[in-house]
Amino acid sequence: MSEVELYLIQDGDNCTIYTLQFLRDTENEFEKFISKFKESAEYSEDYIRIAAFISRIARTGASERYFRQEGKMNDSVVALPVISSKLRLYCLRLSDKILILGNGGVKSTRTYDEDPTLKGYVMTLQKFENLLRQGIEDGSVTLTETTIGTDNIFEL
């Protein structure tokens, strides 16, 4: 079991951005992604594009069409970018106005679930979404149009 908390990165009328923080780690999930690729000789240009997309989405909203559909049919896991790139940032898009940024990596297999590392990032988000939905049902999590409210420590 790993303990994880939801952290707010930025709130706004058009989109509120969150990430996940494992209690055992010093960096949150989105910072881990940034640390790997921001200074990467091979992927820094792809990273800059993703950073610009996130910045734009934070200002204007997280429309479904801005994302690549990943995960399973019944979950909210998506990825950036849609355009051709080997880099993938995995996210939970709960609505046009709520986005949770996860970790990501270089996709070198046909599908994410053929790569144990990428599959792990997607599964983290899938499991977190399930716990979030349970929290909404039991009242420990509140969900409004633009915000998630919780002080829960989730056990993944």
């Binding site: 908390e5 939801l6 952290y7 707010l8 990165i9 930025q10 951005i17 990430t19 923080q21 949150n28 989105f30 910072e31 940034i34 921001k38 800059i48 594009r49 950073a51 610009a52 997309f53 996130i54 910045s55 734009r56 934070a58 204007t60 429309s63 069409r65 801005y66 994302f67 970018p81 849609v82 355009i83 998630i148 409210g149 919780t150 002080d151």
Partner: protein, 88 residues
């Protein structure tokens, strides 16, 4: 609710102005196409069929991440009978 110690902008780091401008324009074009499609009541499949394109190509156009050519923009303006981008 806990907040990250760094803001989104601090986490992302500097983004070159040229990339920001390109991404903003690309998203605005995709939003414009999406609006025109909805006004016409076109699904992605219907739109793709009408243009003789693959639905996957329309997905890229609507993603806000596609680098449109002048030729594609001219074709889309002609199809909708309205400008997609306005110069000047």
């Amino acid at each position: 609710m806990k907040r990250t110690t760094r803001s989104l902008e601090e986490m992302l780091g500097p983004i070159p102005e040229t990339v920001k401008a390109e991404v903003d324009l690309s998203f605005e074009i995709s939003d414009r196409i999406d609006l025109l499609m909805r006004e016409r009541g076109l699904t992605k499949k219907q739109f793709a069929d009408a243009l003789g394109r693959r639905p996957s190509e329309i997905t890229k156009w609507l993603s806000g991440q596609h680098n449109f050519t002048i030729s594609t923009l001219a074709m889309l303006s002609s199809f909708f009978g309205q400008p997609i981008v306005t110069v000047g």
